[in-house]
Symmetry: C2
């Protein structure tokens, strides 16, 4: 049986030592986030994830969700009770606004909690995760009445929220949406259409489900500019907040999937369901994007989270499994064979995971910190930079962390040999579950296009140039530190390559958009590798300073040096590939593949 | 629903144009393999794979195998009938020896058939695949009596064969085997022990199952030098060839696995089962290795085969799915959106698959041709080189083709977006099925160790130096051909890197074996990438010569140039990683992971 223990020490290192959250105590929310409070959240959250959620992970996988004949959906045994505890303990309220009963702590802490939940039980974590996304969208785009009506119960998790975008004929291309909204005399709309792949569209965890639905108001312009957003509760909410009549929305079926069986992926049928417009007519995409950006960061985090739990079990296996002798002579001569962790190639798989996970964790948390600064900083310059970074880093976090997260889960499975392929060891579930993260909330290819097509160019490249300048400043300030030499050298080289790739894109991507498309995925990976090199350099700097007090810091440097010498060289291949331009990709006629 | 069509045209290109099998017609077996016969085998084999085996692929996945209370095993609906047809059509006999009723054709043709079977239904293909492996081992190590007794029925597929190596405490490290063999006065042995992960250990396809079992004769030396090989039939075979009493071997349970559900993965209990020694006492590993080498080539082929079928369906999806517009303006203005194949990043996934598959196919077939030459050539020099190449290339074919095969299946799934993650589209089955190929018959890490630790060093590096010389000759002979310039340039660069890595290994791997272990996987990938560059250069040369007669040859050049410009640059990263030496991997204490 696999295990999960929250990586609390690593999170503390990031919060207290690297990001030094105590320095932001002048900001709203942060003032409450004292080191003690942070530690308590990490400890208790980790305990809940380990003791309540993780034991249900394989149960959820084996049982899956079941749609009953009355169109209700049963989640796996134990899910309703665990969800009840999750709400009763107040976990969803961590970073929600005080006005809705929340604790108002920085979202960064909710991200840390979310990592633990996603490691322990990704299918479970999607229920509250999407609810938070829907809550944020309503808060951003909804009327005061809507906020008051749905806010508190969604903030607490008593009610769930969903995102209804996809239809059979459209996933990426939401301009093709057909779901109709017909205005009624009372200001509401009748919504009719079919949505697919709706996570948590129906379940038995909450009293009500607040669906956010993209639809086209009769007579709206064609394409993406005619899409509006509606709130469609499963049960109509009365003026006094009580639940009224059942709305005409129901689950028409569940998808059979490769993984995340514990999460109900629903076909949702809207049959003149009553809904209310959120924000302005035809401007639904704007609000939906707020939700998607939150969600995309969360998906990147899922990639990292599944890598973490898979890695932990691979470490156990590598220390426990006795097989063959070290190439340099027996290391456990009293045993029939050495533990396989003596083998360099086994360590390669472990360290590929470890160096990725620790770098990616800081990258995600550092990005999320900018999200908090964007909302809380009184300094306009800080807010501008934070907004730039959030926009620029989100597609990288989403796609790079899930691509590499899948690789990490596969490495962890691989290290188990035949056991990795069998159900009982649990490794293959991690690979199946994490697989969706490369797809949903915009495929990784779409993230790459978003990065090169939109995020790089925004404001004349302000975001990426700010990032380059920040890296240059760091290099300049630490170039003379001999202990940091490999990190500075690696970062310098990677940043030069990223800059080269960026320049190439700016020169060639505009004249022929296919050049940008052809370069996009390699550029995103080059970006992600460089960003992690920067994160590792930051961690190394802190570790060098703290060194001596705890062997933890020495381990950090060892892992960081592994990243620089054994992972970062991949930048060269990505740069070479992205600079080929579109020709090698476009030369073959479509029918000749 | 997915589809499969055998890539007959591509196989013909390899057999007729690139390998030019007609030039070997002076050799036994090859003389019968006229172009007409080859074409007929490809056409008919492809038809059988498409029409009989492929429709059972998802059936097998959904139903899996069931162990009944009497320890018998039921394979999925349709498997017994398909197997019966497979045997009746004589497919297993293609390359089996004439003496056992076979057609005596080159094994290369059996490899082509095997590719088609493995694309259409990998779980099914494992039953005859392992039977062939067991047959070859018995032919290589068995007595004349054993060959006569088991040969014909195993050759035809009327009886199946299995390989029994793994035990709970040992997979890679077979020296830890505990299964006991006690000699009896009649020359037989009583075999007692438990074997796990035995593919096809029990099934309802054949009248008898011939188990080859590794066990330790009482009093044998410890470790790998005390392991003997036994033949243990499910039903004892009488002198007249009829089936006698049921042997004391039974299936104790089936593994629940990530994929290949249609193949029964059995726990096999031997309870004083009657067995007979194959070959010499304590020399069982030698014969088993013959079987494993055959099997390893077959596993690499499975990686390629799953990539092929996944790719075909990705091509269909990319041409059918309408979503968004081309970045350079609408390409199908009469439709609501363009087919997604207009997007460079979609083509990246397709061409990564296509360029890998076509290069890998030639690499496998070219290697298999050396297997035939090893057996058939009258020229000792040719046989020596063929043996060297078989030994050197086998771990590369096994590990490189399965690592990249998994990537290709994942790319093909990814291209499908959300549909890829759902059962009904069939893509996720390819990813789950192919996953085992990185593990069984020696994990890919073990293949890499075999390559750097054994195969490179054998005979003072004769095999690898011969290979380098062959590449140099090719470069020298074609350097002036302008049409081949990108291929020659790419090959030259890759070969220089591989030679650099080889030299580094020879200089550093002997003084510290951990340096070899730390470099092994990256070296193997550098080798595989270079080998495919050579294969692409060979194909390009042929395509340039044949050009004009068929647009097929132009497509070949386009695909090949993609390989050179967009895949081959990965060599640099592998070289940089392998040259770090062992330190980055060994620095962290085992308990600090």
């Amino acid at each position: 049986m696999p295990r999960y223990d929250a990586p609390v020490r690593d999170m503390q290192f990031i919060f207290h030592d690297v990001l030094s959250l105590q320095n932001y105590s002048n900001l709203e929310g942060f003032s409450e986030a004292t080191p003690d409070i942070i530690d308590q959240i990490l400890e208790e959250g980790g305990k809940f994830a380990k003791e309540v959620l993780f034991p249900l992970n394989s149960v959820g996988d084996q049982q899956g969700c079941v749609r009953n004949d009355d169109a209700s959906v049963k989640t796996p045994d134990g899910f309703p009770d665990a969800y009840k505890q999750f709400v009763e303990n107040g976990w969803p309220l961590l970073s929600k606004s005080v006005e809705h009963g929340g604790q108002g702590l920085p979202r960064l802490l909710a991200i840390a909690l979310s990592e633990m939940v996603s490691s322990a039980n990704m299918a479970f974590g999607m229920y509250p995760g999407l609810t938070s996304g829907a809550y944020e969208a309503l808060m951003a785009g909804g009327s005061d009445e809507q906020k008051a009506k749905y806010g508190p119960k969604m903030a607490s998790g008593e009610w769930a929220g969903t995102m209804n975008l996809t239809e059979p004929q459209c996933g990426t291309d939401l301009g093709l949406i057909k779901t109709k909204a017909v205005p009624q005399s009372d200001g509401s709309y009748k919504i009719t259409g079919q949505k697919i792949w709706i996570s948590g569209g129906e379940q038995d965890l909450t009293d009500n489900i607040i669906h956010l639905v993209l639809a086209r108001i009769e007579g709206a312009p064609e394409g993406i500019k005619g899409i509006s957003l509606f709130v469609v509760p499963k049960y109509i909410v009365n003026e006094d907040g009580s639940l009224g009549e059942r709305n005409a929305v129901s689950c028409g079926g569940l998808e059979e999937k490769m993984g995340i069986h514990g999460n109900a992926t629903c076909v949702m049928n809207y049959d003149e369901a009553t809904g209310w417009l959120v924000g302005e007519e035809h401007k639904g995409m704007r609000t939906m994007f707020i939700m998607m950006n939150e969600a995309r960061l969360g998906v990147g985090l899922q990639g990292l989270a599944q890598a973490e739990v898979a890695y932990q079990n691979a470490v156990d296996f590598a220390n426990d499994r006795l097989q063959s002798r070290s190439l340099t002579g027996p290391k456990a001569p009293d045993k029939p064979a050495d533990p396989i962790i003596v083998h360099p190639d086994v360590r390669r798989m472990l360290l590929d995971c470890k160096a990725f996970i620790e770098g990616a964790r800081l990258f995600t948390y550092w990005t999320a910190l900018h999200g908090d600064l964007l909302h809380q900083s009184p300094d306009e310059k800080v807010r501008e930079k934070a907004g730039d970074y959030m926009a620029l880093m989100t597609p990288v976090v989403k796609a790079f962390l899930t691509d590499r997260g899948l690789k990490a889960c596969n490495d962890a499975l691989q290290l188990h040999g035949g056991s990795g392929f069998t159900r009982e060891w649990g490794m293959e579930q991690f690979v199946r579950d994490v697989r969706i993260t490369l797809i949903y909330e915009g495929t990784n290819g779409i993230q790459a296009l978003d990065l090169v097509g939109r995020k790089l160019a925004a404001n004349g490249g302000r975001a990426v140039f700010t990032f380059f300048a920040e890296i240059d400043d760091f290099i300049g300030a630490n170039e003379d530190n001999e202990e940091l030499a490999p990190f500075i050298e690696g970062l310098k080289d990677a940043k030069a390559k990223l800059q080269d790739g960026t320049t190439w894109l700016m020169q060639n991507g505009m004249s022929n958009f296919n050049n940008a498309g052809a370069a996009s995925t390699d550029y995103l990976h080059l970006f992600g590798l460089t960003a992690l090199a920067y994160m590792w350099a930051k961690m190394a700097k802190t570790a060098v300073e703290k060194r001596g007090s705890d062997p933890y810091y020495d381990d950090k440097l060892v892992t960081g040096r592994y990243y620089i010498s054994r992972i970062l060289p991949e930048t060269a291949a990505h740069l070479a590939k992205l600079k080929t331009g579109a020709d090698p990709l476009m030369a073959l006629e479509a029918e000749r593949f």
